[in-house]
Amino acid sequence: MKASAAGVGLGPGATGVVSPGSMKPTKVSGAKHEERWAYALLVMPAVLVYWAVMAFPAFFSVGLSLTNYNGGPLWSSMNPVKFIGLSNYIKMLRDPFFSVSLKNNMLIILVSVFGQIPLGFILAYVLSRRLVGLRDFFQSMIYVPTVISTIVVGILWQSIFSPYGPITEIMQQLNPMWENTLFINPRTAMIPVLIVILWMYTGTYLIIFLANLQKIDPEVIEAAKIDGATEWQALRYVILPALSGVVVTSAILAISGSLQSFSLIFAMTAGNPARRTSVLSLYMYDAAFRGAPDYGLANAISTFIVALSLVLIALLKFVENRAGGREE
C-alpha cells in the first residue's frame, strides 16, 4: 500500500488553507482536534466490536493453547489452569493425523490457487470477450454453486461417489470388472473432494475477474488488435499485466479460504475413511468436539492455521515482488 494514499492533503490545489496533514498542532489546534475527534468517531465503533468479538477471543485462544485448560470455569480454585508452554504444539506435530490433514490442506490450496484462479480467469475472459454465446446463463451456472448450502452439495456428492452410486454404475457399464476404490485408496481419496471444491468455488474468482475485466477499456484491446496483435498476444501483454494485482488478491482469498474449509468436507466425508480426507479445521473440530475434548490441542491447531496463512501470504507477496508483477 502506498503511503501517499493513506494521507490527506499532500496533493496540490490547497488554496490558501494548509492541508491538515502538514500542520503543526499548536497552530491550528482546532482543526487538528476535530480531525482526531472525527477519526475516533469513525473508527471506534468498528474497532470496539471487532476487538471484542474477534481479536480478543483470538488472543485468548492463543493464550489457552499454552495452558492445560480443558474445559470448566476459568480462574477458579477448583480448576487451576497451568502454563505448559509448547506442549500442545509438540503433541500436534507428533500426531500422524496432523500431517495427513496438513497435506490435504496443501492439496486444497494447490487446487484453489492453480485450479480455481486460472479456470476462473479463463472463463471470465472468454465470457467477457464474448467468445461464446449465452454469457449470462453460463455466468450464473458457474456462480450459483457458491450460494448453494454446503450440506446439500456434500450429501449429493457423497451419494454420487459412493461405491453403489452412479459413478460406479456408469463405469461398470463400460467395464464390468471396474471397482470403485476412489476413497479406499489413500492416494485417490482426496480426488472427489478436490473435484467438488474446484467446481464449487471457481465461481467466486470468475466473478472477481469478470468484474475487473470490465474495467479494462475495450478500446485498448481493440487498438492492440488493430496493431496486429493476436487474441493470445492481447491477453498476454494487455490484459494479464492489468490484472496482476487482482490475481494476488484472489490468491490471498484462496489461501485463507482453503485453510478454513470445513463444512463441505464435513458433510461429504467427515474426514473418513480412516481420517485420510481430514483437513486442519476438521482435525481441530475433532480435537474440540469429538470423543475426548482437548481444548489446548484445538487452540494450538487454530493458532497454527492462522500462522500458516500468514506465512503463505508472506511467501506470495515475496514471489510477487520478485516477479516484479506489481503495476501501478
Binding site: 490547497a14 452412479p166 478454513q260
Partner: protein
C-alpha cells in the same frame, strides 16, 4: 461478432462450460426431486424421478422444524448484521483511507489479520466471554459476533476502495468547512455504493448459511436461525430423506432468489470492490 478462436478451442471451452452447467443444474434438480420422494422410495431410487410425488414433506418439515420464526430470525440476523457491517466498515474505511493517523497501520492491520480467522477458532473463548457478559441467549449477543466476523473483509475492501476516491474531493469539501462526518455522509457513502453492495452480498450469503455460532450462542428455540433448524433434519443419522431434502430446499431457495434478483449488482459490485491488493 468476430470469431477468432479456433474450432478445437471453442469445443474445449463449450465442454468446460457445459460440464459446469450440468454440475450446477443437476444438484439443484436432484434436491428438488428428492424432496418429493418418500424416504422409502429415495433409498431404492436415489437418482431417478419420483415414482409417486409426495407433497407433504414441505408442510411437515416447516411445521416440525418451526421454520416460520426461524426464517424471521434469519432475516433479522442477516439484515441487521449486514447493515451494521456495511456502515461500520465504510466509516472506518473512510478514516483509514482519508484521515492521517499514526494508529492506522496498527488498527487496519488488526482487521486484515482477521480475514484469516475462522469462527471455529474463536468459538470457545467467545462463548466464555458472552456468558460472562450475560449476552448468551440475546439477539444482540448473536448480532455482535456476526458484525465482528464480517468486518475484516469489509474494512479491507472499503479502505482499498475509498483510497481510490480522489483526495481532492475530500479536501475541497474541507475547505468549504464540512466536517468529516458530513463528508462521509454526503460524499464518501454515496460514492462507495458499489463496494457497499459487494460487501452486503458477501455478508448476506455468509450469515444466511452460518450455524455454528448461532447454535453455540443461543439455547432458546425462539432465537435460533434457519440453518440450525435445517440441521435438525439433516446429517448422517437422519431417518427420513424426503423431509431432510425438503428442509434443505427451504434453506436454499431464498439464496437462489437473492442471486436472481441481485445478479447484475453482484457483477458490478464485485467489479467495484475487487480492487488490486
Amino acid at each position: 461478432m468476430k470469431r477468432e478462436t479456433s474450432l478445437p478451442a471453442r469445443v474445449l471451452l463449450y465442454s468446460v462450460l457445459l460440464i459446469f452447467t450440468f454440475m450446477t443444474l443437476y444438484p439443484v434438480f436432484w434436491l428438488i426431486m428428492s424432496s418429493f420422494k418418500t424416504t422409502q422410495e429415495f433409498q431404492v431410487n436415489r437418482l431417478g424421478l419420483p415414482r409417486r410425488w409426495i407433497l407433504t414433506n414441505y408442510p411437515l418439515a416447516w411445521k416440525i422444524g418451526g421454520f416460520g420464526h426461524l426464517f424471521i430470525n434469519s432475516i433479522i440476523y442477516t439484515v441487521g448484521s449486514t447493515l451494521a457491517v456495511v456502515l461500520l466498515s465504510l466509516s472506518a474505511g473512510f478514516a483509514f483511507a482519508k484521515i492521517k493517523s499514526r494508529a492506522t497501520p496498527f488498527l487496519h492491520g488488526s482487521f486484515v489479520i482477521g480475514i484469516l480467522l475462522s469462527a471455529e477458532a474463536v468459538l470457545i473463548p467467545l462463548f466464555l466471554m458472552a456468558n460472562a457478559a450475560g449476552l448468551t441467549d440475546t439477539r444482540i449477543g448473536i448480532l455482535l459476533p456476526y458484525i465482528g466476523m464480517g468486518m475484516p473483509k469489509g474494512i479491507y475492501l472499503c479502505t482499498e476502495y475509498i483510497k481510490s476516491i480522489p483526495d481532492s474531493l475530500v479536501e475541497s469539501a474541507r475547505i468549504d468547512g464540512a466536517s468529516y462526518p458530513r463528508i462521509f455522509a454526503s460524499i464518501i457513502a454515496p460514492m462507495a455504493k458499489p463496494v457497499a453492495t459487494t460487501l452486503a452480498i458477501l455478508n448476506v450469503t455468509g450469515v444466511w448459511n452460518e450455524f455454528m455460532l448461532v447454535n453455540v450462542l443461543t439455547s432458546k428455540a425462539s432465537l435460533k436461525s434457519l440453518p440450525v433448524g435445517i440441521l435438525k433434519f439433516s446429517g448422517a443419522l437422519s431417518s427420513d430423506y424426503g423431509k431432510q431434502f425438503a428442509a434443505l430446499a427451504v434453506g436454499m431457495l431464498p439464496m437462489l432468489i437473492f442471486y436472481a434478483i441481485f445478479r447484475n449488482q453482484i457483477t458490478k459490485g464485485v467489479s467495484a470492490g475487487a480492487v488490486k491488493g
